[in-house]
């Protein structure tokens, strides 16, 4: 697991909506096989950072590199090609509501490959089985629960066997058991497919359970104030802002310790 090849590098990234700067001077590297956590308080720009990395919003300044590939400096066609190897689970699942689960999962396959209908069907059944939704092929997103929607979204994200999976708040709106199951699923996917995983979350349990690298965004100073293994951050970084966040509001050395 310790092959430290950089997969995504964010270099001097500044994000802005018009004149309003959300975050500036972001610099971090996501290595192959990492489960990389983007954390920070609500509304600090975590999801915006994600949108920059998946091509939905262009940076005000700076670069995002996938290996040697400069994502935002490339031609749109190359960028689309790059997105083939990217899977995304959106915060709300974002399943296309007018399509069944099977059609949802098969659309990326139809878009990027020339597989026969039978092959597509096999792939779809497999991906749905992987997330525990075998047999739900013909259900519409509105007919299944929120947790199942999330898992179906994961099946769609994994449709193309991507090199990297992005998760936007995977545990939002899930009960603790479902959230834990989703975390386990993320770990299993990483271990079996060797996928690099990027997770936007502020769920502490998930952060410590699955993350092995992270970046911490601070809304006050509008930039990142730490990066590294979240468990190490908890033990070694004594910045009060980070300690307060990682200890759920308790200051370092409070009764919150184990």
């Amino acid at each position: 697991m310790e092959k430290k090849e950089p997969y995504i590098s964010v270099v001097d990234l500044t994000m802005a909506y018009g004149d309003f700067v959300v975050m500036r001077d972001l610099n971090f590297t996501i290595n192959c096989g990492d489960i990389f956590i983007i954390m920070g308080g609500s509304g600090c720009g975590k999801s915006t950072l994600l949108r920059h990395m998946i091509g939905l919003k262009s940076p005000a300044k700076g670069d995002i590199l996938y290996g040697d590939f400069n994502f935002w400096k490339a031609a749109p066609a190359e960028r689309e090609q790059r997105m083939r190897s990217v899977g995304i689970l959106y915060q709300s699942g974002a399943l296309w509501s007018s399509m069944t689960l099977a059609e949802n999962v098969s659309l990326p396959l139809q878009q990027y490959t020339k597989l026969s209908k039978k092959k597509v069907r096999e792939q779809v059944s497999l991906k749905l089985a992987l997330v525990g939704l075998s047999g739900f092929e013909d259900f519409y997103p509105s007919e299944i629960s929120g947790g199942m929607c999330k898992r179906a979204g994961l099946a769609r994200a994994m449709a193309m066997d991507p090199e990297v999976l992005f998760f936007d708040e995977p545990s939002a709106g899930l009960d603790p058991v479902s959230a834990k199951r989703l975390d386990d699923l993320i770990l299993q996917v990483r271990d079996s497919f060797d996928t690099t995983v990027v997770v936007v979350t502020h769920e502490l349990a998930s952060i410590f359970a699955i993350g092995n690298n992270s970046v911490f965004l601070d809304p006050e100073s509008r930039t990142m104030i730490a990066s590294g293994d979240p468990n190490k951050l908890l033990a070694e970084n004594h910045d009060p802002r980070i300690q307060t966040f990682l200890r759920r509001g308790e200051a370092e050395g409070d009764a919150g310790d184990e």
């Binding site: 949108r51 998946i54 091509g55 939905l56 689309e80 997105m83 990217v86 995304i88 959106y90 915060q91 709300s92 699942g93 974002a94 399943l95 296309w96 509501s97 007018s98 659309l107 990326p108 878009q111 990027y112 769609r156």
Partner: protein, 376 residues
């Protein structure tokens, strides 16, 4: 039944004791903090206010408001306020309420812009939205060209569904409205015509009005309210659910996948609906003529046939095609522009209907003027 009361005593020259008594609750009348102010004015020597709550009955957040008002007034006069005498619960809540200082810049700045600034920003907004509209029309046309050349990506099953929604499912309402429009035209017309004994010409009136203008306009307005609003709401909801983002990251252009089948479906179905609406309108007129003025049905139909020229029919059908495109454009445009909240979806639907109807009326005016100039 309010027994809330407050009275004051001076413990020394510098200390004012505020004695609270009775029930201090939200719906009971309680004394205002004004009386404390008056005390402070009467005795400028006071440096400290203390509270005595031994006679205080039930209380709720109302007493906090009283305390906060007193301390605000006291702060202005540099008088200290001690909350020791208050019940422990009240003290805790006061700490909570005063823990985070009021953030002065948190409020949205409701800066009053000057008249010219507002006019200016309206104008630039309008210019921008016109630009958006033109871009959208361009993108839609591009998608259409891709469809014609067989390169557009959309699902045939979606297209079928939209054809059904915009076509067959609109038939009942279109029947009702156009039948009634024909009936109304005949009623109004026949009254005037009967003054000249020319009742039979009501067939000309209803026929030409329906085929040339009214059929297309009424169907266009129905479809703006029905299908245009539905398109805006569907696309808006997809925007809220990040479904459109999900398409974009798959490199599937929403313009082809979502907008194109909707626009094509409505543009294809509108002329059929209008043809059908024309027929229903003529039938409505016939009902009045036959039922109330005893005009022979065959005479009525013959007069209708003679009155309507092929150019009338084509103008009507041409308008219907234009209206179909306009309604679909405004519905899809507003849906794609939708913000990310529930109320934004409602705004998008409203705005789609308004834009659609305004566009229909303007287009009718233009087409009618052009036709009369050209003499067709």
């Amino acid at each position: 039944m309010s027994d809330a009361a407050v009275y004051f005593s001076l413990t020394s020259d510098e200390i004012l004791s505020v004695h609270l008594k009775g029930t201090w609750q939200m719906e009971t009348d309680v004394p205002s903090a004004q009386s404390v102010m008056e005390q402070l004015k009467q005795h400028p020597s006071i440096k400290r206010i203390v509270f005595d709550a031994t006679a205080l009955g039930a209380w709720d957040s109302n007493i906090l408001i009283y305390f906060l008002e007193v301390s605000k007034a006291a702060a202005k006069l540099d008088v200290a306020v001690q909350k020791d005498g208050l019940p422990a619960g009240v003290r805790q809540l006061i700490d909570l309420a005063t823990a985070v200082p009021k953030k002065e810049d948190a409020k949205q700045s409701v800066s009053r812009e000057g008249f010219f600034a507002r006019v200016g920003s309206e104008v630039t907004d309008f210019a921008k939205s016109t630009g958006d509209l033109v871009t959208f029309i361009g993108a839609a046309f591009e998608a259409f060209v891709r469809m014609v050349t067989g390169r557009a990506r959309f699902r045939a099953s979606d297209m079928g569904l939209f054809l059904q929604e915009a076509g067959a499912q609109a038939v009942p309402i279109v029947s009702l409205i156009s039948f009634l429009i024909g009936l109304i035209l005949a009623f109004v017309g026949v009254l005037q015509l009967s003054m000249f004994g020319a009742e039979v010409y009501v067939a000309d009136l209803v026929g030409i009005a329906m085929v040339r203008e009214m059929g297309a306009i009424m169907t266009g307005i129905i479809m703006a309210g029905r299908t245009g609003a539905a398109y805006a709401a569907q696309l808006g909801t997809m925007q809220v659910n990040e479904e459109i983002d999900a398409l974009e990251t798959l490199a599937i252009p929403p313009m082809e996948f979502l907008v194109l089948p909707r626009m094509v479906a409505l543009a294809v179905m509108m002329p059929f609906l209008v043809l059908y609406a024309n027929l229903m309108g003529i039938l409505g007129g016939a009902l009045v003529a036959v039922g109330m003025y005893n005009i022979n049905i065959l005479v009525y139909l013959n007069r209708t046939k003679d009155a309507i020229g092929l150019n009338d029919l084509f103008i009507g059908l041409f308008m219907s095609l234009v209206f179909g495109i306009l309604v679909a454009l405004s519905g899809c445009l507003r849906g794609m522009q939708c913000g990310r909240s529930a109320s934004a979806v409602g705004d998008a639907a409203t705005s789609a209907v308004v834009t659609g109807i305004v566009a229909i009326i303007i287009a009718t005016a233009l087409i009618t003027v052009v036709c009369s100039v050209l003499g067709i």
